[in-house]
Symmetry: C2
């Protein structure tokens, strides 16, 4: 059974005991409301390390003032059952007070890869992400940490931070897990009404169309994006934040496809904001 | 003899070997040009830990565009001799390329305690300090790290960062070491001409005057600062950046002395900028 740990001192004691036995530690940072995407990270960690810790913390500093912090789904009981079935060693489930002191004054900021796309629409988001992830790394001191490609830019930002700050943690990025009909798994999918759930398929369809065009030899990004937009607009409640075809390492916009690219999009379906992406080889 | 280590991978190997034997590691981060102030930190680390590593790195990111990065004294041979005499285990002397990748994008910023005083006069200074210190901590992973009280605000900024980011390093702050006539030791003292060296005594004298007044029962900060300024102005080449009487933990300015305070000042003597401070108990 997965152990539930709430205090920093206890998780440090637990990790230290394993470390002294020479065991390799994996960390899967999550905000809970676990789905198969999260569990695929847990399984990857279980394969590659000796003990897997999963943090469950809905991090307030990565939500903007008008975002869904309060509404964000919290399903701790089901999460613990799912982790137990997988064989995770422990869940670290701290309170906000355990993580942030009232007068906390320190931020980790990433420029470059954190600036476009999500960085434009959620200006304080990646500062919150980088700061909490570094804190979790310092608390747990894992050998490896697991992130989903679903949050493509987040994974890049964390990898940059780890490289730039010499953090001794290996970052592993695992493939997107999708529902059978193509919708990328997300804790936010529960917000969707049945009609919105159906409309949400335009995200993965529009990425599949981009892939089809690029594999078919199309190199003009404007034409690809026009086609993606056309598909997104078939959903009456879709409101597009961005679509982009970018360099997969720098996230700089590409004008002509000449090598591997990543297509990314953020679309609001009704009041639910969804993101998805696809790495595409010409 | 103190070992000279230039690469990150080698210092990590060296620390790891000691750590596996259960030894406690101390780190003294410096910019070289070592004087008795630095060596007092080394001795403190030697007393409290099993192996002492001293980093010597003139960190470009903590210098402003018009500051003395190029002129900063570099005395590696003498530094290594001094460290050998003390018994430091190793000096980590990386190149700038070893520390910063060309496209580094990540900063650690501290608000609050980093904002006033040095933060006002050197707006990017503490961002550079916090970032390099965290990098060094991640590279060396010491149990304890040693800083001088001479850079009072720097020590506070680092302690905040370590607390806020849950960095598993104990921060030790050691007393200011002074020349027999009272001048706080600093690598920048070598810039002073003989006349400036004499005039530089106004810093410690003005702090001593503040202490005398507060111990004598004076509580009015305006009167104390007036007296400090009067002493500073006896030096014809002195140009005051700031004098301040502050809360020793928050660095908020104090108007009436009611408990322990810290008096801090930054004064340019000719073209040499000097800082000094004194913690004062009424």
């Amino acid at each position: 059974m997965t152990q539930l740990i709430q205090s920093i001192s206890e998780i440090r004691r637990s990790v230290k005991a394993f470390r002294e036995k020479g065991l390799r530690i994996g960390l899967v940072p999550t905000m809970g409301a676990l789905h198969e995407g999260h569990l695929s990270l847990v399984r990857q960690s279980l394969e590659e390390t000796d003990r897997t810790f999963v943090s469950i913390f809905v991090n307030p500093t990565q939500f903007g003032p008008n975002e869904d912090l309060d509404a964000y789904p919290r399903t701790l009981e089901a999460d613990m059952e799912a982790l137990s079935r997988c064989g995770a060693h422990a869940a670290f489930v701290p309170s906000a007070d355990e993580i942030y002191s009232r007068d906390s004054q320190t931020w980790v900021t990433v420029e470059g890869v954190a600036r476009p796309l999500e960085g434009e629409y959620r200006p304080t988001h990646f500062r919150g992400v980088a700061t909490i992830v570094l804190k979790l790394f310092n608390i747990v001191s894992p050998d490896a940490a697991y992130f989903g490609q679903k949050d493509y830019q987040q994974a890049l930002v964390i990898a940059r931070m780890v490289g730039d700050l010499n953090v001794p943690v290996e970052i592993r990025v695992c493939p997107i897990v999708r529902e059978p009909d193509g919708l990328a798994m997300s804790s936010r999918n529960v917000y969707l009404s049945p009609s919105e759930r159906q409309q949400a398929l335009v995200l993965s369809r529009s990425l599949a169309a981009a892939e089809g065009m690029i594999r078919g030899g199309e190199t003009g990004v404007e034409r690809i994006e026009t086609q993606m937009l056309r598909i997104l607009r078939t959903a009456p409640d879709a409101d597009v934040d961005y679509i982009a075809i970018c360099d997969p390492r720098t996230l700089e916009a590409v004008k002509t496809v000449q090598g591997r690219v990543v297509a990314l999009l953020a679309v609001r379906i009704g009041s639910t904001r969804l993101i998805d992406n696809r790495v595409i080889e010409p």
